[in-house]
């Protein structure tokens, strides 16, 4: 089940941070906690750790595309060998730009895909998200029924309002 708590007005951010700290101290894993807001919130790493592998993914994608394009280009140039301008059939001078661009394309596409993956967008069966109004921050905790009280307490302690539960009671 999910527990949602809303934070509004002035120091909402501070209170959210406090609630998060509280939750983490009570043993809730970072992956079970989500913070919803209308604008990016800066949450210190030690409070809510979100590890990102995007750079790594981008580099991997780039390398992959680079290898693929080199293979593809050498295949196409040799598959129907035509001499032009006395140039070698395959040379890095003449094709370097293409390799570079496709490498970059690889980085761009993986970055985008990785963004979708890390953000969890387009994923099916996502739990219902709270409707966040401007200025409002909402914390969603995934918990078992037996943990729900602890979670609720944490939220309340931090000043959350309108705490509601949703989802299957598991």
């Amino acid at each position: 089940m999910y527990l949602n708590g809303e934070f509004r007005f002035g120091d909402a951010r501070e209170r959210v941070l406090r609630a998060l700290q509280e939750l983490r101290e009570r043993g809730f894993a970072a992956r079970d906690v989500d913070v919803f807001s209308n604008e990016p919130l800066e949450i210190p790493r030690d409070v809510l750790e979100r590890r990102s592998h995007m750079s790594f993914a981008a580099v991997t994608g780039a390398v992959l595309f680079c290898v693929l394009i080199i293979g593809f280009v050498s295949f196409t140039q040799y598959s129907y060998p035509l001499i032009t301008g006395g140039m070698p059939l395959f040379s890095f001078w003449a094709t370097g730009v293409v390799f570079y661009e496709i490498t970059m394309l690889g980085a761009i596409l993986t970055t985008f895909c990785w963004f979708l993956k890390e953000a969890g967008l387009l994923r099916r069966g996502r739990p219902p998200a709270p409707d966040v109004e401007p200025g409002m921050i909402c914390i969603r905790v995934r918990c078992r029924i037996e943990q729900s009280v602890a979670a609720q307490k944490s939220l309340e302690a931090a000043g959350a309002t309108n705490i509601q539960s949703s989802g299957d009671a598991r």
Binding site: L82, I83, T84, G85, G86, M87, A94
Partner: protein, 231 residues
Amino acid sequence: MSNSEHRWGMAIDLDRCTGCQACVTACHAENNLPLSDPESAAKGRAVHWIRVDRYYEGEFPNIRVKHVPVLCQQCDEAPCEPVCPVYATYHNEEGLNVQVYNRCVGTRYCGNNCPYSVRFFNWFDPVWPSPLELQHNPDVSIRMGGVMEKCTFCIQRIKRSKDDAAAESRPLKDGDVKPACVQSCPAEAMVFGDLNDPGSKVSQLAESGRATRLLEELGTKPKVFYLQKAT
């Protein structure tokens, strides 16, 4: 660079050339060049695969005229070739700079990159008022609008000569192949032949002291040799 049997080349003797332009018309007749009209000619769209460049040198009365027939130089390292994105122009085994009309999409990059400006573009589909089209040489395709074209060293004549030689089961001899311009030249200023054959007339002329190549400094390695005027 190529290890094929032939490597076609040409020598043009500027000491013989009179600038009469018989070669220009011969090329038109042989290769079905599109007809220009005053409008297209005024726009610089007249097509002459071979042209006779004329330059005046000096001032009257000590003035001289220089005639240089310029056709596709069939460069060994042709700048026009690598820039074509669709391989419409490439180097064939006999060293010819081949233009494949059907493959051309008309980027005209090759035309820009030809320092000799011997590439011509079909701005429209060509038109011949009937019955002028009866003259068309069936050995040469009619180019549609939107594609580049240029001198082929009369590749169709090379082919015919090869076929003739094959039919008579003899090897191709020096002088068997004559592109239309070479054939037509009254002063016999042009010689065509196989540069792979050291005994051919063109090879010998290319080795002669008078032989130069157009814009040689560009390193395009043309296969047309100009024999400078002896004085």
